[in-house]
């Protein structure tokens, strides 16, 4: 990896950590994106979650307006059946497993939770296996 992408990784990661800290100490909640979105779809969203999601969705627009982000389409011409299957699996899996990369991978690990450590190890391990066997990617 280049020095530039290392810098971007560290800066972006620090902002993500700061965002999770702000939500916890400011609003008393965990920044778990799959949980918030799932609650929204099943009519259980809290005002805090709605505002967090609104901020998240505004991010590409704000960054675009500031000229810091060109909003490229990373998923131009994907393999549609695989995209649908992956989306379904991510939806079912994050609800049954109570979290995704943000809730377990960032907040749960920061909370030193054995549940989140287990979930993170499992979803990273399984995802790495999928890629190792050549099934990764939507092209």
């Amino acid at each position: 990896m280049s020095q530039e992408s290392l810098f971007h990784a560290l800066l972006g990661g620090a902002l993500i950590g700061a965002a999770a800290s702000l939500l916890l100490l400011g609003s008393g909640r965990i920044a778990g994106i799959s949980g918030m979105f799932g609650n929204l779809l099943t009519g259980r969203a809290t005002p805090v979650a709605l505002l967090f999601l609104a901020g998240l969705l505004a991010a590409p627009w704000l960054a675009g307006a500031l000229g810091a982000w060109s909003r490229p389409d990373f998923l131009a011409a994907p393999a549609w059946p695989k995209l649908l299957l992956a989306g379904l699996l991510v939806g079912v899996g994050t609800q049954l497993g109570s979290g995704c990369t943000s809730g377990h991978g960032v907040c749960g690990l920061a909370n030193r939770s054995p549940r989140s450590l287990t979930a993170t190890a499992v979803f990273m391990g399984v995802a790495a296996l999928v890629v190792a066997f050549g099934f990764g990617g939507l092209a």
Binding site: G13, I16, I30, L41, A59, F74, A77, G93, R115
Partner: protein
């Protein structure tokens, strides 16, 4: 504090964009440990954890928010159940197939990517199905439970 939530979501999204994790190719390159491995995501998570961990330790001790004095709600750290492991495995399957997890998918969908919009629709359907399933299961568990009293 409501403003904190809006600002936190914005900051979280900008962090995801800057880190490069909104790009599924970059995520897949991290997952490709046996191939041309790109460690970026490890640095993203490392930096996020270093920043967030002191706040989580402090929040657990404090128990109330800094402004507004509301309770801080932290999820249970135990137990590790088959449902947790099975759910995480299904999520890993979908994440590995696509390189997309919920945060980056929502951001790309908001940015106007048709592929991401379709992914989010499928993800939403999956979440709804899982919710219905677990509700039916907990209803059944309640009905099966022996009466006490």
């Amino acid at each position: 504090m409501k403003l904190a939530a809006l600002l936190s979501g914005l900051l979280f999204g900008v962090g995801l964009l800057i880190s490069g994790m909104a790009d599924p190719h970059k995520v897949l390159a991290f997952l490709d440990v046996t191939g041309a491995w790109d460690p970026s995501l490890a640095f993203v998570m490392g930096a996020a954890l270093l920043t967030a961990m002191p706040a989580f330790v402090y929040a657990r001790r404090r128990g109330r928010t800094l402004l507004g004095d509301a309770p801080i709600e932290l999820p249970a750290r135990a137990p590790i159940t088959p449902q947790l492991v099975g759910g995480a495995a299904l999520f890993g399957l979908g994440w590995g197939l696509s390189g997309l997890c919920p945060g980056p998918a929502l951001i790309s969908a908001s940015g106007g990517s048709l592929g991401a919009i379709v992914f989010v629709a499928a993800m939403g359907a999956g979440m709804w199905l899982a919710f219905q399933w677990s509700r039916r299961r907990s209803d059944a568990a309640l009905a099966d439970a022996p009466l006490r009293g």
